[in-house]
């Protein structure tokens, strides 16, 4: 695998970074996270319209930017760096599911609204047991005439409290199905969860005899797996961007903070911690790049690349944020300093989509260990 970025990637990175620097600085993040919705819908529509973030991988014919996993890598690194409160991960997941599972007609119906930012679309697949694993889906869909009826509880739905439509995953007589549920349909109830991480919101969803339309035909498991893996690859990029920012903050603090008449970064006790953070960020970057390039090329084993990235970035991403907080000393423990926002995002990102141990277990199976 060769990692080459073109001028268009640099341009994309610069565009996204300038936009976020201007529109989603720390003050904006704090305002958004204190709001009821948890994000600024106007900002999201502008990101959708001006830089195509909502429909990143949506084909141009459906109003998207027609990009791929490497461009997503660039964008999510920047989103992680800024901690922007926008429904980017949920939209990316949903777009990938529609592309992998939906028919041409499904795509034409769902993707334009998603790409323009007019309607938020998210995916619900974790059942009441709370396990992030497509192999563990207990909610069932019942056929009713031409359509289906859904009953049950779905947990930890990304941006589920504000989504306009939900793609709910349920078992059917012929494998896994993905069902389109309108958020305002009778029988839909949802509850915003008070999150550990205030910058990315989750909701629980209860469906009570809700009429739903199935996407595509036949068992959706393989398509869902691919969409899931691509989303985890994007999350790894986001974690890398956030960790890189933590390293920047810690290094800058170590240079400017004086104790005992010296910048604390001149003490090896602090300097070596910074060096260890640099090492972790570089390995995270390797992991995230590898996952994105494997996803883009279609060569190599996507599952292995993504599970490697997932298991490493989950743990290292948190360790970097935690150690960066330690380097900030008492300042790092204040609400006023932004490092706790990164710590909370890092822990929530570690817990989303399954633990590092869970992903290593699947890797062990793949490696015949």
């Amino acid at each position: 695998m060769e990692f080459t970025f073109g001028e268009e990637h640099e341009a994309l990175r610069n565009t996204v970074r300038s936009f976020l620097d201007a529109e989603s600085d720390e003050a904006a993040v704090r305002t958004a996270m204190a709001s009821e919705r948890g994000h600024d819908p106007g900002l999201w529509r502008r990101m959708a319209g001006e830089i195509g973030l909502a429909g990143l991988v949506v084909p141009e014919v459906h109003g998207g930017a027609g990009m791929g996993p490497v461009e997503a890598l660039v964008v999510f690194e920047e989103l992680g760096r800024s901690l922007a409160c926008v429904p980017a991960l949920s939209s990316y997941f949903a777009a990938n599911v529609v592309l992998e599972v939906g028919s041409e007609a499904d795509q034409a119906k769902l993707l334009p609204d998603l790409a323009s930012g007019r309607a938020l679309l998210t995916v619900a697949h974790v059942d009441a047991g709370g396990r992030w694993d497509l192999g563990v889906v207990s909610n069932e869909a019942r056929r009713e005439g031409e359509g289906s009826l859904l009953d049950g509880d779905w947990r930890y739905v990304l941006d589920g409290h504000v989504a306009d439509r939900i793609l709910a995953v349920a078992r059917t007589s012929d494998g896994l199905g993905v069902f389109q549920v309108e958020a305002d349909a009778p029988g839909v109830s949802r509850k915003a969860l008070p999150g550990l991480d205030l910058t990315r919101r989750l909701a629980d969803l209860r469906l009570d005899r809700v009429a739903a339309r199935r996407l595509g035909e036949g068992d959706a498991r393989a398509g869902l797996e691919r969409a899931w893996l691509r989303t985890i690859a994007a999350l790894a990029a986001e974690q890398t961007g956030a960790a890189g920012r933590c390293l920047e903050l810690a290094t800058a603090y170590a240079k400017s903070r004086y104790q005992f008449g010296r910048p604390i970064g001149s003490f090896q006790a602090i300097k070596h911690q910074c060096a260890d953070l640099l090492v972790k960020v570089e390995l995270m970057r390797s992991a995230a790049w590898n996952a994105a390039f494997v996803a883009a090329s279609g060569e190599g084993d996507l599952e292995v690349a993504v599970r490697m990235a997932r298991s490493y970035c989950a743990e290292a991403g948190f360790e970097v944020a935690a150690q960066a907080l330690q380097i900030h000393g008492g300042m790092g423990f204040t609400w006023e300093h932004p490092i706790h926002l990164y710590l909370k995002r890092a822990k929530s990102s570690e817990l989303l989509f399954g633990s590092a141990i869970q992903h290593r277990e699947r890797l062990a199976e793949r490696l015949a260990l």
């Binding site: 001149s266 910074c274 490697m308």
Partner: protein
């Protein structure tokens, strides 16, 4: 013989190799005869100037020479096996700094490996801080008399020549009082002893220098300018070591093999271990495998970045990660082996040469001990972290007790 020159292309170079093979073929003549002919054809190190074993070409073209020889001969010689320090570090230093007569006398014999070389820099009291070394060279007429102790010298027991760094002026700050000498290892007063490691092998030596006399014309560079010459040697060390397979490459693969063949799911490795114990171990095995893979990818990124002309911090990260990971992997290997790791089948022979054939288990146990040095040799992990912190992240240096101070006034412990 066709003339060498700047414009020589790959085909002309290959033709020149075939001329060499017509004059002296490695399958037909002895090593010294063949290598001497290769030197005389300018094919020893093609990036050296003509007349010194080279043709003034780019160093990358040496691979063409090696390839062409390998195409036409069964017998080939590996520089890094024959005379790694002489060829990798000695020759470039001699070329850059030695008087003409020494260049002519020494360079061909380095290439033929008639003269094996070693390097005498490190001392018991000067490891990470090698510029603080204490071996003294004192003038005696035109000559120098050297006294001191050197350590971690590979190949000193076979070497005819050494690159020696010694202190000629203790009143100057440490970097300014050093001089660089060519030392004939056969001189009276040079004593070489094997340095036994925790593995029971001796890959290195201690070298004691007692009133060793060095003729005045064997100083390289000017008196007091030895550190600059040493930098040349050390830069080439990095290039030379880059040619070796990195220590520990494939260690994670060995661990996976060990798990599959002799781990808890094999009859020999089961040892009545509980499911929980096996699950924890397996998770750790996968974890170090993932980190090892990510290190490989990081190395790949370094190559890609260098090709694009934008080298980043990836290369400096690699040494640190590899060293620490090797230790983790081999510690884990012992956990996988379980109680049988109490047994060290090969024993500790206290011999110079490493033992020969080993089983997978014996390798794991040996590597467990040998890998302790990975985070010490070639720059300790602490020094690597300083480099990353100061050069990559721009953090300030420690206040120093040895800056602008005469060397003899620098505080030091007892070596």
């Amino acid at each position: 013989m066709s003339g060498g020159g700047e414009a020589i292309g790959e085909e002309a170079l290959r033709a020149r190799v075939r001329e060499l093979l017509a004059a002296a073929h490695p399958d037909e003549v002895d090593r010294v005869t063949f290598r001497r002919a290769q030197y005389d054809h300018g094919l020893a190190w093609v990036h050296f100037p003509e007349g010194y074993g080279g043709l003034g070409l780019s160093p990358g073209l040496q691979a063409i020479v090696d390839d062409e020889i390998a195409r036409h001969a069964r017998t080939t010689y590996a520089d890094l096996v024959l005379n790694p320090i002489g060829i990798g570090m000695g020759a470039p230093t001699v070329l850059a700094y030695a008087p003409e007569a020494y260049k002519q006398a020494l360079l061909p014999r380095i290439f033929t490996a008639e003269d094996v070389w070693c390097q005498l820099f490190s001392e018991p009291g000067a490891g990470s801080d090698v510029a603080g070394l204490a071996t003294r060279a004192v003038r005696d007429g035109d000559d120098w008399i050297v006294n001191g102790q050197k350590v971690w010298a590979s190949l000193a027991h076979r070497a005819s020549w050494a690159m020696l760094l010694a202190r000629t002026d203790p009143d100057k700050p440490k970097h300014d009082g050093l001089s660089y000498f060519l030392l004939d290892m056969r001189s009276p007063g040079v004593e070489v002893r094997p340095l036994y490691q925790i593995t029971g092998d001796a890959e290195f030596n201690e070298v004691f220098l007692n009133d060793v006399r060095i003729p005045g014309d064997r100083i390289l560079g000017k008196e007091g300018a030895g550190w600059r010459v040493a930098i040349t040697t050390l830069m080439n060390e990095r290039v030379a070591i880059g040619g070796y397979s990195r220590p520990g490459q494939g260690m994670a693969e060995k661990l996976l093999r060990l798990w599959r063949e002799e781990g808890p799911s094999s009859p020999r490795g089961a040892q009545g271990r509980s499911a929980a114990e096996i699950a924890v171990l397996r998770d750790e095995v996968v974890r170090v495998h993932v980190e090892s893979e990510l290190l490989g990818i990081t190395n790949q990124r370094t190559k890609d970045a260098m090709r694009a002309g934008t080298p980043g911090p990836e290369g400096s990260v690699a040494k640190l990660v590899q060293a620490e990971l090797n230790k983790e992997i081999t510690e884990l290997a012992l956990s996988v082996i379980g109680s049988d790791a109490l047994v060290y089948e090969t024993g500790y022979p206290l011999e110079r040469v490493e033992a020969g054939e080993r089983s997978l288990r014996e390798f794991a146990k040996h590597d467990f001990l040998r890998s302790r040095a990975n985070s010490i040799e070639g720059g300790t992990s602490e020094v690597m972290r300083n480099i990353l912190g100061e050069r990559m992240l721009g953090l300030p240096g420690e206040p120093r007790a040895d800056k602008d101070v005469p060397w003899k006034e620098i505080p030091r412990g007892r070596a």
